[in-house]
Structures are given as structure tokens and as C-alpha cells.
Amino acid sequence: MGKIMLEVKNLKTKYVTRFHEDVYAVDGVSFTIEDGKSLGIAGESGCGKSTLALSVMGYYFSPLHYISGDIIIDGKNISGMKPDDVRKSILGSEIAYIPQAAMNALNPTQKIIRFMEDVIHAHDPKAGRKEIRERAEARFAELGLPPSVLDKHAVELSGGMKQRTVIAVSTILNPKVLIADEPSSALDVTSQKMVIKMLRELMGKGYIKSMLFITHELPLLYNVTDDIMVMYAGQIVERGSAREMVFDPVHPYSHGLMNSILVPEEGTRGNKLTAIPGAPPNLKRPPDGCRFAERCKYARPECRYSMIPEKSFDAGRMYRCLLGVDELKEVYGHE
């Protein structure tokens, strides 16, 4: 087993809203990522993926609050740190973060090189302009980005180029962990492939030591990360290697997510879209029992009695369902 780069233990966080209606968006999440490995998180809108990203970074600015659990980056526990200190000493250098829709949030009046200066100065305020430009040009060249991009504004770049630029800028300090929140979701297939190839190069060259890749498209992750976790209503419901999760998902929710890609083939038009009916539970008052039970074809009364614990199976796999692995495979086999 490789050295552990990121370890999260039973992390719980919440949004404090008006009228004391707290939203428990991350509710007991645990995972580890080893040096050189990547982990994908897939799940429906609102299940808490972006909140998990912020929580893992220790980015607890109101209304987000830490409740309990540990976050250990390369041996260092950051869970008790003040958010302001996190911003100073963790962000960028230990953990780099690419927020959802970051590429559309770039200040339109600034050239790309200014973003590079911002990132480097946050860590090393004395770095000179010339030094920064040299570093930026070298990194861009290595990642296949034309250095001329540094002198452009965001509006002059295509979506794919913008996203690759954001990734190159965010990782200039060679962070131990890169957290990328939906970096390819808004892009067409050609641009998606370019983004993913670039992320792999960053890992391969050791510029990032590990990666957490967030997306709502489970099938996409097969081509991106080593392992995959599926998140539902603030909790992890299954984890396994990319291959296992794509070819052999166990949890009824993961199973449903795998059936949802639209292929342009004869007969698909006019079909019913195989999605999972219903909506996720309200995270203010999550149900006592299985959170997915209400939408699950296989749910039994017992599923709703009490919280379903995480269950390990095979080598290193985990799922959270009352039914046994064999029972589930049996029912899928009959569909």
C-alpha cells in the first residue's frame, strides 16, 4: 500500500440556515487516497459533493460549519484549523481546488498571467514577475498549452481551453491533493478528453500527488479515476475500483446511475429514459433508515427502521444496503 495522501474519517458538516433549520450535507463520510491515486465522487445534484469538497479543505466559512471527524493531509491533521489559517497555509500548496463552474467565474478584465501571479503570491509574496512568467511558461509548455494564452483574457478562450488553463494555474504550486469539482461537465467530448489527458499528465509527472474528481456522471469516471465512490444524500453508499463500479455496481442507486447514459442508437428515441424516479430526501430531516429506500425498487420495511451501516466486501469494496451482495446480484440478473 502506498503512502496515504488524504484521509477523511467520519466527517460531518452542516449548513446553518435561518430558523435553525440545519442542512446536514456531509454526514459521516470516510475515505482515503494514496499517493499517486485518484478517487472519483459521483452523485445526484444536491447530494453534497461540493460541500464535501469544501469540508475536506477545511474551508468552513459561514454558513458551512464543521461538526466532527478528521481530515489528515499527508500525515497532518487539519480538522481543528481556523478557516483563515487554512486559506493561508493549505489552499493552493497542500490542496488545490477547482470550484464548480470556475471557468465561467474568471474575472474578464484580467489576463491569465495575473491569475498565475495571484496563486503564486498567496504562497510566496516576494516572487518576482519575471520569475512567475518563466515558471508559468515552462508549465504551460509542458502541459501542451500555448504560452500565448498567458496574455489573453478568459473571454478569448474556448470552453475547453479555459478549463485547461484553470487547471494549469491552480496546480502551479504542485499540491498534494487536487480537488476538481465538475471540471469537464460543461464541455463537449473532444474538450473533455483533453482535460482528462491533462489531469493524467499532471499526476504522471508528479505535479499533483493525488486527486479527488467530482462529477455527476458516473460512467465518465471509468476513464478518469482509479477508484469511485457514489454519494447519496450526504453519505457514501458504495466504493470500489473504477472497473468494479462500472461493470459490477452493487448498491441499487449506483446500479441505477449506470443505466442513464443516452446513446444515439436506433430504438432509443421514444424509449422511457431509465432514470431513478423520485427525488432525494430533504437533508434537513434525513430519514432514520436507508436514505434511498423511498426510491428503491427492492426496499423492504426493515430498510426504514434504522441507519444502514457501511459494509465491507471483496477486497476493499464497501456498500451501504441492507440486502446482501449476492441477493442484489441475483435481482439484477433477473431484470
Binding site: V189, L262, A275
Partner: protein, 285 residues
């Protein structure tokens, strides 16, 4: 998804809703000159679900902005209900906008951060002349609209847009359309940021809404699988031009243009590894 006839409805003899001849948009001058939309012709009919499919930079958003009247065409003409569209004065523009609505990829961009959700929905009712309706009636309408998109109105009152997740936000946008009942809906990548479940729900709602109020839907996407799934008619756009258009079945199952063929073969197959060795990071895309 709702039961739909697999037979394709023929829209070509329905009344025209929006059409264009030689519509062109050129940005910049000299070496900065970009022909974003290049002499396109199109006929969108009443009640038709049209998809415009193309990769990033092909000109989809630029065309949609011209259709919305947010951007003037450099050349060519746009026709509304068969007559040349006249939005030359502020009043005429307002009149045109009454019948046309848009939803975008980033739902947050469509809502005012400082406006509560009830106000957003109330505005829709007022805009359609419901200002003087009794309060109970307005609440009933808002509740119905939220119900249509599977949201609970009672849980939304007093909330601000940023308290919703992306998927809830997209549904709220459709609730707005439900109340506004436009003749034309322009949707620019409205589902690219949501998961498959929310996407299915939203598409289902859009199709139901089209059936319910008979609006024309112009759906912009780079996902050809999705376009095939939901549209009556598909226009394929490459470098500002329509390289192919026709009934969804004809275009997707029997593509003629090389570009269409590539878009179809590029759709990721779930259980297939991508060959990234052919991806050229140095290409300027």
C-alpha cells in the same frame, strides 16, 4: 419519460414560428475577425422541438442570442411567424420578448441573488397580467407550478436562490416557464451541469410543458445522444454553418455529413476505455 409516439410528427406543414435566411454574425476586425455564425438558413415551426448540436465554439450561443434579439445579425434576416422580425424600437422588442423565454446552462445566472424565490415566481404571474388576482389564487398558481417540477412551494418560500442545489434551481427555472407560458423557449445547454436523474426529470418536464402549452423549443446542446432522444428536428452546426439538418431519425440514424458521423462516434460508450493517445493537447481547441 412520458409515452411518446415513435412515429415522427411532420412539422413542415405547421405554421412557421422562427425562420432565418443567410443569418450571419461576425465579431471583431482584421486578424481578430471571427465569423461565429455563417449564413445559416432555418425554419422552426410551431410546437416543434428543435435541437441545435455542435461542439464548443461552433456558434450555437451566438445564434441563440440573435434569436433572442440580444445581438444584431451582421447579415441576413430573421422572420417571426413568417414576417420579417421587427425589434427596432424598445416597444417592439418588449412585445417580442413577451412570447420568448430562455433558460441557460448556469441556472444561477438567471436569478437575481437578492430576490427571494416567491418573488421570482410572483413576478412571472404579474408579467402575464395576473397582478390583480387575489393572493390565494396566486399561491395556488405558484404551488401548481412548483408541483409540476416536483418542488414543494411551501419549502421554497422565503428562500434565496443560493440556498438551492443546481438541480433544484434548474427545476425552478422550468416552473417559471410553466407560469410564463411563452410561445418559444430557447434552452442553451440547460442540463449539462446536472446528473442523469435530474436531467431525465428536466427533459421530461420540458417535453410535457411543450405538449401542454404547445410552445416551440429550441434546444442547444453538444450532446448528440440527448438531441436524438428528445427532438423532432436536429440541426448540426460546425464552424458557424449548418452542415446537416432534418428529422431526428434521419439525421442520427443515417448521417450524411462527416462531422455528424464523428459526433455520433465520439459519444462515450459506457464500458469502453477512451483512447487518449490521439488527443492532441496542442490543437487550439
Amino acid at each position: 419519460m412520458s409515452e411518446r409516439a415513435i412515429e415522427q410528427t411532420d412539422f413542415t406543414n405547421r405554421p412557421l414560428c422562427l425562420s432565418g435566411r443567410g443569418v450571419t454574425k461576425i465579431f471583431g476586425l482584421g486578424d481578430k475577425r471571427t465569423v461565429a455564425v455563417d449564413h445559416v438558413d432555418f425554419d422552426f415551426h410551431e410546437g416543434e422541438f428543435v435541437s441545435i448540436v455542435g461542439e464548443s465554439g461552433s456558434g450555437k450561443t451566438t445564434l441563440s442570442k440573435m434569436l433572442l434579439g440580444l445581438l444584431n445579425a451582421s447579415e441576413g434576416e430573421i422572420f417571426f411567424q413568417g414576417k420579417p422580425r421587427d425589434i427596432s424600437t424598445g416597444r417592439k422588442k418588449k412585445e417580442y420578448w413577451k412570447g420568448i423565454q430562455a433558460i441557460f446552462q448556469d441556472p444561477f445566472s438567471s436569478f437575481n441573488t437578492f430576490q427571494k424565490i416567491d418573488t421570482v415566481l410572483l413576478d412571472c404571474i404579474n408579467m402575464r397580467g395576473g397582478k390583480h388576482l387575489p393572493k390565494e389564487k396566486k399561491i395556488e398558481m405558484m404551488t401548481e407550478a412548483c408541483g409540476f417540477v416536483n418542488l414543494k412551494f411551501a419549502e421554497l418560500t422565503n428562500k434565496y436562490p443560493f440556498e438551492l442545489s443546481g438541480g433544484q434551481m434548474q427545476r425552478l427555472m422550468i416552473a417559471r416557464i410553466f407560469l410564463l407560458r411563452p410561445r418559444i423557449l430557447l434552452a442553451d445547454e440547460p442540463t449539462s451541469m446536472v446528473d442523469a436523474c435530474s436531467r431525465a426529470t428536466i427533459l421530461d418536464m420540458l417535453l410535457n410543458l411543450r405538449d401542454e402549452i404547445g410552445m416551440t423549443v429550441i434546444f442547444i446542446t453538444h450532446d448528440i445522444g440527448l438531441a436524438y432522444y428528445i427532438s423532432d428536428t436536429v440541426y448540426i452546426m460546425e464552424h458557424g454553418k449548418f452542415v446537416e439538418f432534418g428529422k431526428a431519425d434521419e439525421v442520427i440514424l443515417n448521417p450524411q455529413a462527416a462531422y455528424t458521423k464523428r459526433l455520433i462516434s465520439d459519444v462515450p460508450k459506457i464500458h469502453e476505455e477512451w483512447d487518449l493517445s490521439t488527443v492532441d493537447l496542442l490543437s487550439q481547441k
